[in-house]
Each structure stands twice: as C-alpha cells, then as structure tokens.
C-alpha cells in the first residue's frame, strides 16, 4: 500500500465505498453497451458486403459502393422526394395549427370547457399509429365508410382513398394533425397562462380589441417557444416516421407514400439487402444530424435557453 500515492488511494477507497452502487449500475451499463454501442459499431456494414455466415468481422469491405448505388438508384429518388414533400407539408400544416389552437383556447373563459377540450385533444397522442390507421381505414372504406356513404348519397361513385396514390400524402398529413394537435399545443398553452394579466388589462384600457390583444400581447408572449418549435420542426425535414408511413401506405400507393424509413425496412428486413439498406439509413441519419446541429446552433443564437446542448 505504501507505494500508492495518497490521492490515488483515496479514489480507490471512494470506489470501494461505492461498490454496491456500481453493482446496481451494472445492468444499465451492459444494456447500453449491448443495445446502443454495439449497433453503433454495426454501422460499418454499410461499407461492407455483409454476409450473415461471415458476420461483421469477416465480411468483405466494399467502400462507398452502396452510397454510389444509392445516388444512381431511381427508387431512392422517389423515396427521397416523398420524404421531403410529406415532411414539408406536415410542417406547413402542423406547425401553425397548435399555436392557433392554443391562442383560441386561451380566450375561453369557462374553465370546465377549456379543460375538457384540452383533455379530449390530448387523447389521440396516446393511440398507436396502427389504431389511427384503423380508424382512418374504417372511415374511408369504399363500402361502409362514413365518408364514402356521404359521397354515395350525393350521387357520386365511392373512392378507395387508401389505394389511390393522389390521396396518400394528404391522408398522412391530416392524420398527423389529428393525432398531435392537442399534444403539440401543451407548451404554448402553458406559456400563455404565464403571460401577465396586467398586460391585457392595460391593453383593454388603451382600447385594444380581442384580436389586437392576441396579436400584440399573446403572440409576443410565446414567440420564444414558437421559434424553438419551428427550428426543431425543420430539423426533422428528412424524416417521416416509420410507424405512420408503414401503417398508412400500401404497395398500391408506394409511388407517393414510400418514405426513407419504410424503404429501409422493405429492402433491409424484407429483401435482406442489409448493407445497402444500412447505407440508406446512415445517409439519412447523417443529414438529420447535420440538420439537428444546425437547428441547435440557430436555437442558441436565438435564445440561450432554447438550445438542447
């Protein structure tokens, strides 16, 4: 013991003192190594010709072959286009609506009513995408769906919405709106209740009407949060969630509804082209990461507290 310097032996003693804590931590450490860090290392299959028998360590290296293939593949062009279009439409529709919803709800003076609407509006957030798809398929069914029953009552032919490519993007965007409107408004509603009542009172004294109060007091009061949400919404530009796309798109509507995440699933898991699909996934993560870093940079510029790191 004499040859260990005092600082080091104190640390060893500390570690010894905390040994049971480390033991409690062990399952989590194993979990993160196995299920997070090993898959991170597994990204190298994107640069290999992965073969299940040879494994990651034995498979042949092919450099950037799959990435070159990616940019020449016509499938990928369609998938990229769908992804960017669907997420752009989604941002355009689902970014402003929760703000408007929160602003209008904030005007309601009847607290019971306000709370009921809030509670109801959060509900769809807790429903899975397959159930959302189930509700949509039921309503849009060409035989018994309520929408087509109305179309038929008006004397038109029923439309099989789920199988017609021109409706796919609209269905995806509107279902995101329906599902997340209430939940996305929570932060705005909370921020609006924090806006001082005195501001409104003095505005009323100055003769401001309801619309002017919203424009000059409510909106500036939540502008920070609006900005942050916008920046992070834009950082998701190359990402349409797997679950929503997989549940709302069928082969008949691939041309307008197949996005990167469902494409990776199809060629990777179904067709077992592990290396090519990893390359697609990696390219997407890379662009998403750049967008997140850029968004975070912008957020920090805009407001110190808004950045995530």
């Amino acid at each position: 013991m004499t040859n260990i310097n005092p600082g080091k032996s104190k640390m060893l003693l500390d570690i010894l003192k905390f040994r049971y804590y480390y033991l409690l931590l062990l399952p989590a450490i194993i979990f993160y190594i196995v299920f997070s860090y090993i898959p991170m290392g597994g990204i190298i299959v994107a640069f290999q010709d992965y073969n299940f028998m040879k494994g990651i360590l034995g498979s042949e290296w092919v450099g950037l072959k799959w990435f070159e293939m990616l940019f020449t593949s016509s499938d990928f062009g369609t998938v990229l286009r769908n992804t960017v279009l669907i997420s752009t439409y989604t941002i355009l529709v689902t970014f402003p609506t929760p703000i408007i919803f929160a602003l209008i709800l904030n005007e309601c003076r009847n607290l019971t009513f306000k709370r009921t609407i809030q509670t109801v509006s959060y509900l769809p957030h807790f429903i899975s995408w397959s159930i959302v798809a189930g509700l949509i398929v039921t309503m849009l069914s060409p035989s018994a769906g309520i929408v087509n029953q109305i179309i038929k009552l008006m004397g038109y032919e029923p439309i099989y919405f789920m199988a017609e490519p021109q409706y796919t993007r609209g269905i995806i965007v509107l279902s995101v709106l329906w599902k997340e409107l209430g939940w996305a408004s929570i932060l705005y509603i909370a921020a609006l209740t924090g806006v001082s009542a005195e501001l409104y009172e003095s505005a009323i004294l100055d003769g401001a009407n309801r619309l002017q109060q919203i424009l000059y007091i409510s909106i500036p009061g939540i502008s920070n949060i609006i900005m942050m949400t916008l920046i992070f919404a834009i950082s998701g530009l190359f990402n349409v969630g797997f679950e929503q796309a997989y549940n709302l798109v069928i082969p008949a509507t691939y041309e307008t509804g197949q996005v990167i995440s469902t494409y990776v699933y199809k060629i990777g898991i179904r067709n077992m082209q592990y290396s090519f699909s990893s390359a697609v996934g990696l390219a997407q993560s890379f662009v998403s990461m750049l967008l997140i870093i850029g968004a975070n940079h912008a957020a920090r510029k805009f407001n110190q507290d808004g950045a995530i790191w």
Binding site: F18, L24, F126, S128, G134, A144, E180, G268, I269
Partner: protein
C-alpha cells in the same frame, strides 16, 4: 374599475361565440373517428346492407366481438403477447430505471459525470434499424418475446427525469440511514421508492403505454404470426380483404340466428380496432393528469 374590465373580458360577444364553436368542433373532430368506428363495430350486418349511412346502429350487436375475441382467434393470441410484453416489459423497465436513476443521483459517486455522458450520448446517436436488427438476429432473439422487451429496457429520457426527481430528495434522509447500517439496496427500496410513488406511477404509465402501443419492435423482430403483438396484427388485418374469425363460433352465431348474414369485413375490422383501443380509452381519463404532469417535468418527446 377593475371589475368592469374583467366583466368586459368575460362578457358575451359574437367573437366569444365563434371561439366556443371552433373549440367544440375541434373536440368533436377528435372524438368522431372513435365514435363512428364504435358504431360500425356494433351495427348488425343488415345495417350494412340496408342503410345508406350508418350513424347509429338499428340494434346493438356484439356478435363481431364474440367472433374475434374467442380463445381460438388470432386477436386473442395477439392480445396475450401484448399483455405479456406490457406487464413484464414495464416491470423490467421500472427495476432497471429506478436502480440506474438512484445511482446517478448520488452526487458523490466517483466518475458520475463520465457515466452520465456515456449514457446520454446514446440519445443522440444510434445504429439505426438494420444494425439493431442484425444484433437481435445474432443474439438469437428473433421471434422471441424478449426482443420486444430487452432492446428497450431503459428509456434514457425517463431515467434522467427520475434521476432529477430523486435528486430533489434531501440526502440527509438516507445518509443517516446509511449510518444506521442500512444497505444501499435497502435505502432505495425502503426510503427512496416510497417517497417517489407519484413519480413512479407516472413512469409506469409512460412505459406501459409505450409497450402497449409498440409496433416497431414487433414489426422488426417478430415474423412468426403466432407471436405478433396486437399493433402488428392490427396493421395486417386492416388491409386484408377479410378478418379471420373462429369458424366454430361463426357457425354457432349463424345457427342461433344471432347473425342473420355473414359479418361484413368492415364491421369485423372496426371491432378489431376498438378491441385494441379500448384499454387505452378506458384508462385515459384517469391517467391523463399524470401524462400532462410528466410532460411538464421536462417536455417529453413530441
């Protein structure tokens, strides 16, 4: 003066009426899909043939539920899988999350910040779909129910929230317990956890709902249709032409005259959707205050 101002803000006006109408419409549009699917799932077959539009069933008919919820049916098997994954998965989640959060809440733990960075790093970088799949394949977990539990054993975000909560508990409370010879595990079980019951309830709900709604891991790791979870089964049924019913029950219902016609596939699908949704809808009114509390604890994933 102040009173007259508040009266003016509360008073009746066309503007306020419009606001209440718009908000009521949002509420109705949110609930309508559940309502109409429910109606489709209890309307008798003759309604589907006779009526131009079904807004209310001519009689309540539960035969579709009888057809899909019998013990031999596919949805029954999927239900069992999802129940197992939800119960066991949430238990695993809670044990590991509480242990990890407890240790990381110890301000004096050597290497605490390094370990935290090691964990938080995984929130920003991950291998993605295919490397995760290859790992689960190598671990021989494909088509095992554990593939829907182990890869998600901890949610880093929930763990960090719980750690933050644990850190608000004054350290004197358990330091004196340690002096009295209380072990670390005992401290966690006897002192920390009882003080954290509301927080634990919140995270139990988060984890349970995540498992119940889990589609992704079932889709990725389970190809054996007998082991499909509810959400994956549902996706498959939606775009199928017919929903497979237990033939024996079908014969019985048709023979008894309870069903006058073969059940329409739209009604069968609607009944399947409602069967998968009902547990969430029924518990939601009681749970939602916890969810909102959790959301406020640190703005959860959107």
């Amino acid at each position: 003066m102040a009173k007259s101002i508040s009266l003016k803000r509360d008073g009746f006006s066309p503007f306020m009426t419009l606001i209440y109408i718009i908000m009521s419409l949002v509420g109705i549009i949110t609930l309508f899909p559940f309502f109409i699917t429910m109606v489709n799932s209890i309307a008798p077959p003759e309604d589907f043939i006779m009526k131009d539009i079904i807004l209310w069933p001519s009689r309540f008919d539960l035969s579709y539920y009888k057809l899909i919820l019998t013990s031999g049916s596919d949805i029954f098997a999927a239900y069992k899988v999802t129940l197992f994954v939800t119960v066991v998965g949430t238990a695993v989640n809670l044990v590991i999350t509480a242990m990890t959060a407890f240790v990381l809440a110890q301000k004096k733990l050597p290497f605490r910040s390094q370990i935290t960075v090691f964990i938080v790093f995984t929130m920003f970088f991950n291998g993605g779909m295919i490397p995760n799949f290859l790992l689960v394949q190598k671990l021989n977990l494909l088509n095992s129910l554990w593939a829907m539990i182990l890869p998600g054993a901890i949610s880093t975000m929930y763990m960090l929230f719980l750690r933050n909560f644990f850190m608000t508990i004054p350290t004197e409370l358990y330091e004196s317990a340690a002096l009295d010879g209380c072990s670390e595990v005992n401290t966690l079980i006897r002192i920390i956890l009882p003080l954290s019951l509301p927080a634990l309830a919140t995270f139990t709900l988060f984890y349970a709902v995540d498992h119940w709604n889990d589609f992704y891991s079932g889709m990725l790791y389970i190809s054996d249709y007998k082991k499909q979870p509810l959400q994956v089964y549902l996706r498959q049924v939606l775009y199928d032409a017919t929903v497979r019913a237990d033939p024996e029950t079908m014969q019985k219902l048709l023979g008894d005259g309870e069903l006058k016609y073969e059940p329409p596939s739209d009604a069968m699908k609607a009944a399947t959707v409602i069967s998968a949704t009902l547990p969430i809808i029924c518990t939601y009114p009681f749970l939602q205050k916890y969810f909102v509390k959790g959301m406020m604890m640190g703005s959860l994933k959107g």
